[in-house]
């Protein structure tokens, strides 16, 4: 079968792979490159577990074809901690006990990251809207909302 070359930056490092035509970015990241932090919860675009950041925008990797990502800057949750130091969002999720089974967590963190990148001091409503494409079945959402608000406060205190 004919394979297609794809080349992009993942969490700052260059990646080049040959994939089958029609391969989703989710599949390429997980099964070709070995970054399993995006999760395949539905492959329908309805759960958000596969959320990644492409060129600064939140996207669903399950509905994005890898071959449309040539030259893109792709960020995933596995690349968020720097030199072993957790990102404030990751720290806030830990402290708020905002993870249970953990399957939705990487996608939630991606959604929250994009929010805080654009809106450093979000309202609760902003957070709710930002997380609205991500399904969590364990927590009832409240601890996750609180974690994002806490991370935002921590960020703004650091900036001050």
């Amino acid at each position: 079968m004919a394979k297609v070359p794809v080349q992009f930056t993942l969490n700052g490092s260059e990646k080049a792979e040959f994939v089958e035509g029609g391969t989703t970015l989710l599949h390429a990241l997980r099964d070709k490159i070995g970054d399993t932090s995006p999760k395949g919860g539905c492959h329908q675009g309805t759960c958000g577990a596969c959320s990644v950041i492409i060129d600064g925008e939140l996207r669903l990797s399950c509905l994005t074809l890898a071959e449309t990502c040539g030259g893109a800057d792709i960020r995933t949750t596995s690349g968020l901690a720097e030199a072993g130091v957790l990102h404030p969002l990751q720290r806030a999720f830990l402290d708020a006990f905002a993870t249970q089974c953990g399957f939705c967590t990487p996608g939630m963190i991606m959604a929250a990251k994009v929010l805080l990148d654009h809106t450093p001091n979000p309202s609760r409503e902003d957070v709710v809207e930002a997380l609205s494409g991500n399904i969590c079945r364990c927590t009832g959402y409240e601890p996750i909302i609180q974690a994002v608000l806490t991370a935002a406060r921590a960020n703004s205190q650091n900036a001050a």
Binding site: E20, G22, R30, D31, G34, D35, T36, S37, P38, K39, G40, G41, C42, H43, Q44, T46, C47, A49, T76, T77, S78, L80, A81, L86, L89, Q90, F93, L94, D95, F97, T99, Q100, C101, G102, F103, C104, T105, P106, I109, I135, C136, R137, C138
Partner: protein
């Protein structure tokens, strides 16, 4: 959250070092960094993908299955039908002697619900498996189906499952599990009011964010490692051993880190057929439910119908309660006979009632087999019981919360199943709810205690 330490302080040992401490979860760092390994995070070279050909009919005879075109499809490695499964008819609870075996791994001669697995296709890619699955030809003779539990229990209804011979599970106690305590008819005769009401639910889905699935790796020494998100490792291993007629020593299951279960991953569905595929091809096999399969193919919580007839006195005492519960098992037992049994044990709820009559039925219909879910056998019963309690209170003009105090079970009370009540705390929960919700009740109720009367 608030811990109210004032209740039961005499029974609790405080001052422990680790217990009662809000220690951080040791698994959370893996969750927030995306490093936690779930079963599907293992990817092996040469892995095959399993897709199921499923019944489009609710009830049908299978006249023939033709896989010849599918076998020729590029990328197809193996196609499995019922004849390939060594012990094709099974039931999960046979391990604890709850039979009969009533379900096929792959349909043999008949399908009993829309979505039932008929043919398994193993191919190099998911796409090739999907394309080949579309080429499998199954010739069906559609049979009349039954979806309504009451219809299913009527004489002359289509027979859902021949392994049972009737559309209900036959307990050692007969067509239903029974509890008989006191004299319910005498209770009704003495009651000031009688209220009979019917409650109904529809099936619901566990909807974990991670769908059911497994990845199987042949170890090369006639053993197979199965990475799975089952909720019960040995339950799955032992049932697989029976289905595949393979010694348990050949099976190695690895799991324990699951993306949500809620009871939906206690059925043994994906592992046996995936291991069979790995055995017959010598290749790693992945069988992961699509979200659509998780929603409509995996077992839901059963629909239930609950009929409650109560006799109540004007002073608030419930003197008789008769409950008839129906659990819609769908086409196969799975855990439903256990669930209906659990319901029988749960009624009449956390209340002390002198005359109780319980019948719980496990009914077969032509729908997706139901199984365990969070609150199994109890959740819908509690809905029915507690709405009934509200209606009874209003019927006799009493505050619904006070009405519950009057009937609440306490230490030493004998339950309908004849066990003495121990460790009750319903009254204290209601007292605290009264305070928290600013729903005042009479002082005598706030002075009550669950502790053994007279003690």
């Amino acid at each position: 959250m608030e811990l109210r330490k004032s209740y039961f302080a005499d029974q609790r040992k405080d001052g422990l070092h680790e217990i009662g401490q809000p220690r951080p979860r040791l698994d959370s760092p893996g969750h927030v960094t995306g490093k936690t390994a779930y079963f599907a995070d293992r990817n092996f070279p040469g892995m095959l993908h399993l897709k199921m050909v499923r019944s489009p009919h609710h009830h049908a005879r299978i006249r023939s299955i033709d896989t010849s075109e599918a076998e020729k499809h590029p990328g197809v490695v193996k196609i499995l039908t019922a004849k390939d499964v060594p012990h094709n008819v099974y039931t999960i609870l046979i391990l604890i002697q709850v039979g009969p075996e009533d379900e096929t791994v792959l349909a043999d001669g008949k399908v009993r619900w829309k979505g039932e697995a008929v043919v398994a296709v193993l191919a190099e890619t998911e796409r090739a498996a999907q394309e080949a699955a579309a080429k499998v030809k199954v010739d069906y003779e559609v049979l009349p189906a039954v979806f309504d539990m009451e219809e299913a229990l009527k004489p002359g209804a289509p027979l859902v499952n021949e392994y049972h011979g009737q559309n209900y599970y036959l307990y050692d106690s007969g067509e239903c599990r029974k509890v008989r305590f006191g004299d319910v008819e005498a209770g009704f005769a003495e009651a000031d009011h009688i209220l009979e009401q019917s409650y109904q639910s529809s099936p619901i889905e566990h909807a974990p964010t991670e769908t059911t699935g497994c990845v199987v790796m042949p170890e090369g020494n006639d053993r197979f490692t199965c990475y799975t998100n089952t909720q019960a490792m040995f339950f799955t291993l032992d049932n697989t051993s029976i289905i595949l007629q393979m010694p348990g020593s050949k099976l190695h299951f690895v799991g324990g880190t699951v993306g949500g279960g809620f009871g939906g991953k206690v059925d043994v569905i994906v592992e046996p057929i995936a291991i069979l595929g790995a055995k017959l091809t010598g290749r790693p096999v992945s069988f992961i439910y699509s979200r659509e399969e998780e929603m409509q193919i995996s077992s839901p919580r059963a629909a239930e119908k609950v009929v409650i007839k109560d006799g109540v006195m004007n002073d608030g005492r419930i003197v008789a309660r008769q409950v008839t519960g129906y659990t819609d098992a769908g086409a196969y037992s799975r855990h439903s006979p256990y669930g209906a049994q659990k319901g029988a044990a749960h009624y009449p709820g956390p209340y002390t009632i002198p005359n109780v009559w319980i019948d719980t039925y496990c009914v077969y219909t032509n729908r997706t087999p139901s199984s365990a879910m969070r609150g199994f056998g109890v959740t819908i019963g509690d809905f029915a019981l507690e709405v009934q309690m509200d209606k009874l209170a209003r019927l006799i003009g009493m505050d619904p919360l006070e009405f519950r105090f009057i009937n609440a079970y306490r230490d030493g009370d004998t339950k309908a199943h004849r066990q003495p009540t121990e460790g009750a705390a319903l009254i204290e929960c209601m007292q605290e709810a009264s305070r928290a919700a600013n729903w005042p009740v009479a002082e005598k109720y706030m002075a009550m205690s669950s502790y053994k009367k007279g003690a």
